[in-house]
Symmetry: C2
Subunit: 328 residues, 2 copies
Amino acid sequence: MRVAIVGATGAVGKELIKVLEERDFPVSELRLFASPRSAGKTVTFRGEPLTVEVTPEGPIPADVVLASAGGGVSKKLAPLWSSAGAVVVDNSSAWRYDPEVPLVIPEINPESARAHQGIIANPNCTTAILAVALWPLHKAFGATHVVVSTYQATSGAGAEGMQELLDETRNHLEGRPVGHKVFQHPIPFNVIPHIDAFQENGYTREEMKVVWETRKIFGEPEMKISCTAVRIPTLRAHSEAATVLFERPVTPEAARAVLEEAPGVEVVDEPERNRYPMPLSATGKWDVEVGRIRKNLAFGNALDFFVSGDQLLKGAALNAVQIAELLL
Amino acid sequence: MRVAIVGATGAVGKELIKVLEERDFPVSELRLFASPRSAGKTVTFRGEPLTVEVTPEGPIPADVVLASAGGGVSKKLAPLWSSAGAVVVDNSSAWRYDPEVPLVIPEINPESARAHQGIIANPNCTTAILAVALWPLHKAFGATHVVVSTYQATSGAGAEGMQELLDETRNHLEGRPVGHKVFQHPIPFNVIPHIDAFQENGYTREEMKVVWETRKIFGEPEMKISCTAVRIPTLRAHSEAATVLFERPVTPEAARAVLEEAPGVEVVDEPERNRYPMPLSATGKWDVEVGRIRKNLAFGNALDFFVSGDQLLKGAALNAVQIAELLL
C-alpha cells in the first residue's frame, strides 16, 4: 500500500513513521510531506533514508494519506487527495463534525471507518484516551452521565509545546525570566485551565471536543458529558479523572473484569503496590492505562477511575495507523 | 499575646512567621520550636533575631501554640500544651476528626472556634481551598453533590517535597537518573494519583479528608462529596476542578455575584482576557482564586468551577493565624 504522511516532521508525524514500522504496516512506498520550512530533511524509515517533500497544493499519489498538518491544510487539501483516489485519515479537527465523515476509534466503531467516502477523521487525543476505557464500561453497564477533568501534556500542542516546557523550565531553575509563546501563560510549575478557544457557553473547544466526539464515536448523540480540560507541565501522556453514572448495576470488581478483557486498555490498579496510571508509565505504550477504579462516593451506582494514555500514540498516531489497518 | 510556633522551620512554619508579621498579629512574645535537627537556627521576626528551640516534651509558656510539626507530635503534646493554658491551633490531621475539637475555617464557622476546649484543628489544605469557595455557593443555592479532582502542588509534602521537585527536575533536564524519596514515584513531568495512604474503599486518606472535613466544617454530616486527589509537578498552589449539583436554581451569573461578595475569595473569571485561576497567580495570595464558572453540561442545575489557592497560606498558615485572630 502506498502511504503518504503530511506533517511528517511534527510530533505526531514522527510517531506515525515509528508506528508504521513497529506494526509492520504493509507499506509499498512511503512519501513524507511537510511545510517548506521542513522540506529537504532526511528521515529514516525501515533503515532507508527518505527526503521530506513540500506538501503539494494538489493530488498526492498514495492509497492512504495520514494527515497531521493542522486543520487549515486538511480542510483545503483532504478533498483533493481523496478525489484523486487516496483515503485520507485526518488527525485535525477539520472534518470530525462533518456528518459524512466517520470519526473512528478502531476498538469502538470500526464499521464506521469502512463506510467512509474518502476521508476518515481521527479523534481528539483527550477523547480517544477516555473513550477506549469508557466504551467497554458503557456497553456493559450503560453510562448515563460522564464528568471528566483532564491533566494534559504539552505534547498536545505539538513538538513546540514540549520544547517550550523544557526550555522554560530550564529558565525557571536557573533564575532567568520565564516566557511563553505556545501557551497562554508560562507553563513550568503551573496549571492552565485553558486549551483551545473559549466558546459562548464558557467551555473551551477542547472541552467541547470531548462531548461532541464521544457522542459521535459511541453513536449516542444525547449522552450527558461534561469536561474540564487543563494543561499541566508534563511532556507527552494525558491523564484524566472520570466520574461515570450507569443505568445498570455496577461494581468496581465488575468494571475491572470488563476492562481486563477490553482491547486497547491495560488495567493498572494495584494501589497496595503503588500501581496506578501515570504519564511516566503510560508514555510510549499503545494501551491506555486505567486504574483507581472505585465506587463514586457522591452518586449511587457510579464509578470513578483514572486513565493515562500516550497523547501521541493512542491519542494520535497509533489510532490513525489502526484506522489505516481497517482499510487493508 | 504570647505565641509559640512548633515546627517553625518547616514550609508551613516559615509562612506562619510571615503571616503573623504581615497581619500585624498582636504578638507580645514569639517562641519558635522545632526538632533537635533544626534547633539553634536563627530566624528573623519583625527585624529581631530569634533562636529556634527544641520542642519540649512538656508545657509551653504561651497563650497560643501554632503547631505544624506533624500528627505524631500533635497527638502526644497538644493536650499537654492546652492543659498548661495555651490554645493550640493544630495544622496536623491528629485532632480534626475528634468530636470535641472544632475544625475551623474562619470565613465559614468562626463560632465553632470560640467553643473550643483547648485545641482547634486547622483543615487539610485541599479542603480549605475548596471550602472557602463552596461555602457561599452552598449557603445561596444548597449544594447536594460535589465531585472534585485536584491538581496538588509538591508543597503539600512540605519543604522536602518542593526541593525534590526542583532537584529531580534538574536531574531530568540534564539527563541524569531521576530519583524519588518524598513521593512514591518520580515527580518531574509526571502525575501521581496517590496522596497519603490508601483506604479500604479504594480512596486515599487525602481524598477522604476532603469528604470528612468539608462535612464537619459545613455542619452537613450527610453531604455527598467525592474526590480524586492528584499530585502534579507544581511548587506551592493547589488547583481543583469542581462539579457541584444544587437544590435551588443556580446560574453562573448568580454564582459569580455570590462569590464576588464572599470573603476569602477572588473571582478570576475573564476567559476572554485569558484570566482564570492558576498556581502562578494564586501563589502568595491570601484569597483563593475562583473562575471557569459555568453550567455543568451533564447535570441539570449544576455548576463547574476551578479554584487555585496557596497551599501554604489559605491551605495552612493563613487559616491558622485567622483562627488565632478569632481568639483575640
